[in-house]
């Protein structure tokens, strides 16, 4: 295992840092307050190729490897988790899943549009009554005159307010199946959702499907394999994005904490000289480093197409999301009142970190998967 970045990966990382510093970081708190990222930012992400980062160049993407894609999620996530959420749902959950399992026609139809950002995609799995229990989805499909008619409600769908394409999981007589549903399908409407704790600029919504008819050509993957094949592929892709995004949040908290500890004076000296502050920073650094290694390891295995990449991605997501919460909480504590005020980013990181433990499989779901794997074969995890 070599987790050192190649020259090309290092160059990409520098590119991401420059983009984030100029286009994202100065405005992220405003987006959070406004509850939206602007269309101009999405256009810039598209122009930079960040909405099709891992999509092959033949489809108009950047053709990046998974380690580089992890770095992109980390750097974007370090500045703005809402923007990283767009990359997660659009690229990881949807575009990469179409790339893996889509028909040639589906890939040719959708990937160039998604890679360029001309069209945005969202992932419709969760429902008012079905989150972690994916088997419990009630959105239904019914075959009628050679088409599939979808009826139901999807809730908490990131970027559904502006997405052009939805990947919808539905239940029917052949088992759970996934469908590509364009926004302009008659009977589809999106109701915006507000008041979310974190990733406030990620334009959440509720998708109402009322007798939405799509052709059989819009089935993604195999009929009845929606969960095992499509949803699991999508969530695996998403977990990697969220793991690296969580790492970005924690790094931002750590960097801000070190900076603040040099500036803030207490009892006549900078707080960096206080032993309790040194302890906090040491704990943060150790956690961030551990999560970095887990994320890089997951990326490396994903690039190798190793079967262990799935559980290692789960492990990275589990640790990085919990770690981001712990580090963000420590950062709030270290910054004191400033860490609690919306003039500073720390409170945003703290709120965003909590969301990381819930999306793309909650912490508790990851615990079940990791424990099952460990009990069967500890050596395959360690």
């Amino acid at each position: 295992m070599n987790l050192e970045l190649t020259t090309a990966q290092q160059a990409l990382k520098e590119e991401f840092i420059t983009f984030v510093r100029t286009e994202l970081e100065p405005y992220a708190n405003d987006y959070d307050k406004q509850g939206a990222i602007p269309r101009s930012l999405i256009e810039k992400l598209g122009a930079a190729g960040y909405l099709g980062a891992t999509i092959p160049t033949a489809y108009g993407g950047r053709g990046m490897d998974q380690v580089s894609y992890g770095l992109l999620n980390e750097e974007i996530g370090r500045a703005c988790s809402s923007t990283r959420s767009l990359i997660t749902v659009h690229s990881s959950l949807t575009a990469e899943t179409i790339l893996r399992w889509g028909s040639q026609e589906q890939k040719e139809q959708w990937l160039p549009l998604l890679a360029s950002g001309q069209q945005l995609a969202a992932f419709g799995l969760s429902e008012p009554g079905a989150g972690s229990d994916t088997n419990g989805i009630t959105t239904a499909y019914e075959e009628k005159d050679g088409q599939y008619v979808l009826t139901g409600v999807k809730k908490w769908i990131t970027f559904s307010q502006i997405a052009n394409l939805f990947l919808i999981a539905a239940q029917g007589d052949k088992g759970i199946t996934t469908f590509l549903v364009p926004r302009d399908t008659p009977g589809l409407r999106v109701v915006p959702l507000e008041g979310i704790l974190g990733t406030r600029a990620s334009l959440l919504g509720e998708i109402h499907l009322e007798q939405c008819a799509v052709p059989a050509a819009n089935i993604l993957g195999r009929m009845g394999w929606g969960l095992q094949q499509i949803v699991n592929t999508a969530l695996d892709n998403g977990r990697y994005s969220v793991a690296c995004g969580s790492l970005g949040i924690a790094r931002a908290c750590l960097e801000s904490s070190i900076q603040y500890s040099k500036q803030r004076h207490q009892s006549g000296r900078p707080i960096k000289e206080h032993q309790l502050i040194k302890q906090k920073i040491t704990n943060m650094v150790t956690e961030v480093k551990a999560a970095t290694l887990l994320c890089r390891n997951a990326g490396w295995l994903r690039d190798k197409k190793d079967p262990d990449s799935f559980i290692q991605t789960t492990l990275a997501k589990y640790h990085a999301s919990r770690m981001a919460n712990a580090v963000a909480a420590e950062a709030v504590q270290l910054h004191g009142a400033l860490g609690c005020h919306d003039s500073f980013s720390i409170q945003r990181y703290f709120r965003d970190a909590k969301v990381m433990e819930i999306i793309e499989g909650s912490t508790e779901i990851q615990q079940i998967l990791i424990a099952d794997h460990s009990i069967a074969s500890l050596s395959s995890i360690l």
């Binding site: 993957g221 095992q228 998967l369």
Partner: protein, 85 residues
């Protein structure tokens, strides 16, 4: 890793399954590992990636049939069929 020897197919599959299911769990080549509840929700994807990488095949949508994957014997038959051996 690419398996070229035909006789290696079954033992390679068995080694992978034993690792995933647990070394201390006994099952026969004809046992349905899904029906017995020996695998979790990530397993199908792990298996697909394992088969593709190990035997240099592409698993297509049309290959996704539990009958192909449910037993060691069926998996061996699936690989032989895909490779035309």
């Amino acid at each position: 890793m690419n398996v070229t020897l035909q006789t290696d197919i079954k033992s390679t599959i068995r080694t992978f399954l034993q690792k995933r299911i647990g070394q201390d769990v006994s099952f026969n080549d004809g046992d349905d590992i899904f029906q017995l509840g020996l695998v979790n929700s990530l397993f199908a994807l792990e298996l697909v990636v394992f088969l593709e990488n190990t035997f240099d095949i592409a698993v297509e949508n049309s290959d996704l049939n539990l009958n192909n994957f449910s037993t060691v014997d069926n998996l061996e038959g699936f690989i032989r069929n895909k490779k035309g051996i």
